[in-house]
Amino acid sequence: MKNIEKKKYHILNNIISTIILIVFIFLENLYFSVFTKSNFKNIIDNLPKNSYLYIKNTLNKFYSNDVVDELTNSTEAEVSISNSTNESIELTDLNNTFINDNIDDSTGNNEQLIELPTSEEIIDEDNFEDTVFTKKKLKVETVSLDYFKNTLFIGDSRMVGFEIYMKIPEAMYFCYTSASVFNIFENEDDVAPIGKTKLYDLLTNHKFDKIYIMLGINNLQTNYYSHKKQYKETIDRIKKLQPQAIIYLIANLHVTDVLDPTKLHLTNENVNHVNEFIKDYADNIQTYYLDPNPMYDDENGNLKLELSTDNVHIHLVHYDKFLVYLLSNALVEDESTTSNIITPRS
């Protein structure tokens, strides 16, 4: 009798475990199919954000820049219509900014751009008037390390590399990994000799003579317009807080042509797009654009393979060139110069 019961018990157990097995296979299948779908959904969701660059890059191969700009603007407008109300307002605004920029560019009058910095609209007029910069006469000169006295370096992990390679005692470094224009005012950093501080506090409590900024690489996958807008706002805010400082906007260093399958946005095409608007924001009055990329690039405009292990960060020893570049592109006051529009040496 006991044996029969035991046998029944075993059969029941086997049936239950078979059912569990089937349910498990079903769940796994379901999970993987959902997972695949969610991946697909992510791509679809991000498509409008990235579509501008993709479309522009593709069209560039076939049409001239003017035609491409026209076409991509209309594409972006279409995207904004398909989005929710709030988003569409933001995108449309950004689009308008872009169109205005294009109009300025199309006139070919770069000086007009420099004399009327776009920051005017955002910065408090009175404070901005206090800027002594427009009256300064500057010239490019090769200087010694003393130049970095009372200097602030702001940047991401690539600037951290510079900090590690060359910690200039008189200078301060507000650099941390994953820094971007979206979080540079949010996060704290351990700044020697002060200790942990936020950028806002640092800029309000100290007066710097020069500020070097290299930001942008961590937002290559961010919406191009949001990034452009945020970059402008960040720089304007720094200008407002440090009206006396010469601000150097350093172009983002290129990456190698080896693509990381998990970071497909890390391409020099995207880096160049960001560098383009950084260059545009250099008013050559208070903000100046520096592009150290030619020192590190190969003939195709990619970071030389031998200079980096992870294809993004250059090895520390190669920051010696970077330092020399900064020293030989330093702006100093010049009594003899009449014009205040200066382009650093390439």
């Binding site: 086997n14 569990i20 796994e28 292990t309 090895h315």
Partner: protein, 449 residues
């Protein structure tokens, strides 16, 4: 699917345990077998060909086994054995060379070694009963050891597999071991990998002598905790279902000589080469013929290097270890007997150096790194070292601590206190899962071998 995958921890493993413990005794093996196949399939969804290779090789090798088993003539049996072993070595060589596949099928080296092991055992031991295909497949595909061992001999596996010691106590103890293995991999190994990653970003030409030494020990710890963690997870899962798998690591850094170190590190691979290569070649039985011993050691280490991959750094690594072991056999062991601290120092200094060679594939980079280990001129600027120390000193110190026997002693003291162990297990699993989410937990290093 790897053991440190959240899908494995929270979906696969609980379902497996549930099915396994509900199933009747005669159905448990079927559950293990089915889940083992599913485990390999889910782990190779992007490379389904790997699943076909495993299935086809298992069928072919069973035919080889059947042939060897049913042959009564010893001479022909030996010929059949040689053919089977040669076939399997050829398979490893072809698939590792990358001629046909871009990536080697996961666990290939390990399951092929299981084939070879069972052939030789069946040929040498006439007491083996008839092995059914299902049991052979269960031995090969048993999922806790399928991808990276421990390499288990068939007789030992059969003994534990047919007499499973299933109990709630064993289940819990298995989970403790699994949790410890998981935390070694996800909390220690993956964090220590960040040090290596940072050094790579700095570039070997940029680092100072101290960073180079920290990096050398980081490479060693990363490899150790990664593989020891994996082995513990495999042993833990098997223990939970009442199966005993052999230990793969036994505090190797406490060894008094490099020879002893290799008896405590990847124990089952060492035993495989000892039993199936070193001893058949003559081993160390002939004490008078030291040259013969040296040749045997060289053959074993040459095979060990090649087994890891056809790369120059693996060969250099194997040859360096081989030279140290030969020096110990001929000279150093006598010195160690008088003063064992010398042996310990050699283990602590030379073993990480050998693992450095093992880890850096590019020979130019390797040269550069080795030069940095003795580049005293870099002492002038230690900014890179300060930066690494500032970011990683905690994990580095904990890593060094876990290379000693102190954590194991503490663990053994509380091993039988169920409540404390359950709490620790939960904490370790939660922490590990958190680390899996925040860090880029990579594959286990030994999956590539």
């Amino acid at each position: 699917m790897i053991f440190s995958d959240l899908n494995f921890i929270f979906l696969f493993l609980p379902t497996f345990f549930l099915s396994y413990f509900i199933a009747g005794d005669n159905f448990k093996n079927v559950i293990i077998f089915l889940f083992s196949i599913l485990y390999y399939i889910f782990g190779n969804l992007n490379n389904v060909i790997n699943v076909y290779i495993l299935i086809i090789l298992t069928i072919i090798n069973y035919l080889f086994l059947y042939n060897i088993f049913s042959e009564s003539d010893n001479r022909i049996k030996s010929i059949k054995l040689y053919i089977s072993v040669f076939f399997n070595i050829l398979v490893i060589v072809i698939l590792k060379s990358g001629l046909f596949l871009n990536t080697m099928p996961a666990g290939l080296s390990f399951y092929v070694f299981h084939y070879i092991s069972i052939f030789i055992d069946v040929k040498n031991n006439n007491n083996f009963g008839k092995i059914s295909f299902l049991r052979f497949a269960q031995y090969i595909i048993f999922f806790p050891k399928l991808l990276s061992g421990p390499i288990t001999r068939y007789d030992l596996f059969e003994k534990t597999y047919s007499n499973k010691d299933i109990s709630f106590d064993n289940f819990l103890k298995g989970l403790y071991i699994f949790a410890i293995g998981l935390s070694l991999k996800c909390i220690l190994s993956d964090n220590i990998y960040n040090i290596i990653n940072t050094i790579n970003v700095y570039g070997y030409e940029s680092i100072s002598i101290f960073t180079a030494w920290v990096g050398m020990y980081s490479y060693t710890m990363n490899l150790y905790f990664d593989f020891a963690g994996y082995s513990l997870m495999a042993i833990g899962i098997a223990k939970s279902i009442g199966i005993v798998l052999p230990d793969n690591f036994n505090l190797p850094f406490l060894s008094k000589s490099v020879s002893e170190f290799w008896r405590r590190w990847h124990i089952t691979l060492g035993q495989f080469f000892r039993d199936y290569v070193y001893i058949p070649l003559g081993g160390h039985c002939d004490h008078k013929n030291i040259y013969r011993q040296i040749v045997n050691i060289v053959v074993v280490w040459l095979l060990t290097g090649l087994w890891h991959g056809f790369k120059i750094n693996y060969l250099l690594w194997a040859m360096l270890v081989c030279i140290i072991i030969i020096m110990e056999k001929t000279l150093l062991l006598k010195v160690y007997k008088k003063c064992d601290i010398i042996g310990r120092i050699i283990v602590i200094v030379l073993i990480p150096f050998t693992f450095l060679i093992f880890s850096i594939e590019n020979i130019n980079n390797l040269k550069l790194y080795i030069l940095k280990l003795i580049d005293f001129s870099t002492i002038k600027s230690l900014r890179d070292f300060e930066s690494i120390l500032k970011s990683y000193y905690k994990v580095f110190i904990v890593g060094l601590l876990f290379m000693t026997h102190i954590p194991k002693l503490l663990f053994m003291k509380i091993y039988n206190c169920r409540y404390i162990m359950v709490i620790i297990t939960i904490i370790l699993i939660v922490l590990s899962c958190y680390m899996i989410n925040v860090t880029n937990s990579d594959l286990f290093k030994y999956f590539t071998f």
